[in-house]
Amino acid sequence: MAGLIARAARRQRVMRWIVVLVLGVFFLLPLVAMVMFTIREPNGHYTFSTWRLLANWKQLGQTYPDLWAGMKSSAGLAVFTVLIMLVMLVPTAVWVRLRLPKMRRFLEFVCLLPLTIPAIVLVVGLAPVYAWVTYFLGGSALTLTFAYTILVLPYAYRAIDAGLSAIDVRTLAEAARSLGAGWATVMWRVVLPNIRSAVLSASFLTVALVLGEFTIASLLNRENLQVAIDLLGKSSATMSVAVSFAALVLAFALLFLLSFAGRRRGRRGATTPDQLGAVSPSLIASEAIGERS
């Protein structure tokens, strides 16, 4: 029996390594190829000039003004979207928990709605809305932040809702109120510090999603990082591949950091098995849909 189990275990191990190796090659090859593509010249020599240029911000801005503008607007969009998302979502989620518990289902439904509406569909309906936005606020790329807030809603909501589930918001708020705190103080000094890691998760996810967004920006003729990369691909393939690679690495670093951010405060509740939920937007999404009905 023991021998049998050992043999089965060995066979399992071999199988596992084969799977990991084959798929590992499949996944790493394009990434390696990206790097090679950026450092290899047609004559077979190697050069790091692309990367040197990418690291030299001033010159990069002069050589590729569109790319520079795209980077700037994506950075701005990330900041604004995080801010709007937090200002919209956190107080609303707390308020609904405290004062309007009957609305929780409704809030959840609304927040998860964007999952069933593909971005390409949303953009069709957003076009007339953005005609008005342009009329009132001008055509700056930063106005995309409203649409992006909608896009990140499901992921951000899941993260924040999980954070709120882990603490007893009602008791905390009542305790603070009975000690004379106003609602603003309750929010800022009592609730927020207690859901710090959830807020952090939601913000990281938002940044990652905003930096990767292409569909809406491209079809509303606004400029962001991904649109700039796509445009650059037509003129300077090497640079566009280099920026793509840098963006992928940056996103990886963000999500990797995020996987640690969720750890500090041990959350309870079934929504975050091993904090995996915090790592991935799609997992949060999948859980969210599963728990909806």
Partner: protein
């Protein structure tokens, strides 16, 4: 938001006087209104940027150019080229969903024994998150750098081994290329959504099987597979919806023609609109929503079944 001025514990003296009921009721109404005001900014925002766009699509799909109700947009959907695009989208999504699900499940199974909070698993799940969600344009460029006409692998195979991967025509910028790149982001998504289900499998179940005399095969056939089947099917559906609604990769990769439905919508949005067909794009968008909604509904059902055992 919460600064709306109602004071729950204000003026207790008032309730002592005789004609109390009327003001009390009024105050109660005011308080309710105040409570609702707390969610007003959020609802207003969501209405403008989510509900109205959705209604624009739904209503627009049934409206003619001058706003009259009509079914002609939906009838246009049965045109050959749009039906073909829907068909290709569905086939592409189905193929990459199944391939991604099988390969992703294998990879998830290989990963599940790694320490849950270990560095390996963190790194892999983060990487999967990036590839599954961040993708789009960057992944298209990754594949152009790999197997594009002057890509690393293309050149290597040509120079070193004399193999031309494009001897039968350049397939990267067409459906086969899309399928390859889609699979590249479907597998990581599968890993992410399937890992929790695998984590739910308890070693005790296997021990119970073997203590009752069951073999490995019987364990898989009779215990693990029935338990994992709903999760597997559900994840496959999620992958389908993911591929079906993907746009960026295709937009960056395909520059000629519009083989799949998101690209058809692009051309409906960006090109000169044929008279009387202004709203065909909206009808196509509505069609996409319906497909995704059906798939997601089935997914939700399966997910509920999954959570019974593996939650």
């Amino acid at each position: 938001m919460s600064v709306v001025g109602h004071q729950p514990d204000a003026k207790p003296a008032e309730s002592g006087s005789a004609p109390a009921p009327a003001p009390a009721i009024r105050r109660f109404r005011w308080r309710r209104a105040g409570v609702l005001l707390g969610v007003a900014p959020f609802l207003a925002f969501v209405t403008i940027f989510l509900i109205i766009p959705t209604l624009v699509v739904v209503i627009g799909a049934f409206a003619s150019d001058d706003g009259q109700p009509t079914m002609s947009n939906l009838r246009t959907l049965t045109n050959g080229y749009i039906l073909d695009a829907f068909g290709r989208s569905i086939v592409l999504s189905a193929v990459t969903a199944v391939a991604g699900a099988i390969l992703g499940a294998l990879l998830a199974y290989a990963l599940v024994t790694a320490k849950p909070n270990g560095l390996l698993r963190r790194a892999v799940t983060s990487a999967c998150g990036v590839l599954a969600q961040f993708g789009g344009v960057t992944l298209a460029f990754a594949f152009i750098a790999t197997i594009g006409l002057s890509g690393f692998v293309t050149v290597f195979l040509q120079d070193q081994l004399g193999i031309n991967i494009y001897s039968g025509g350049v397939w990267l910028f067409d459906l086969p290329g899309l399928a390859l790149v889609y699979t590249y982001f479907q597998i990581p998504l599968m890993v992410i959504v399937f890992l929790p289900a695998l984590d739910g499998i308890r070693p005790q179940w296997r021990e119970a099987t073997s203590s009752l005399g069951g073999s490995t095969w019987q364990y898989w056939r009779r215990v693990a597979m029935p338990l994992l089947a709903p999760a597997f099917l559900g994840s496959t559906l999620l992958l389908f919806a993911n591929a079906f609604s993907a746009y960026a990769t295709a937009a960056a990769l395909v520059s000629q023609g519009s083989p799949i439905i998101p690209l058809q919508i692009r051309s409906a949005l960006t090109s000169e609109v044929v008279l009387g067909q202004q709203n065909v794009g909206k009808a196509m968008a509505l069609g996409m929503v319906i497909v995704v909604a059906i798939v997601m509904g089935m997914y939700a059902l399966l997910q509920r079944r999954t959570s019974r055992w593996l939650g």
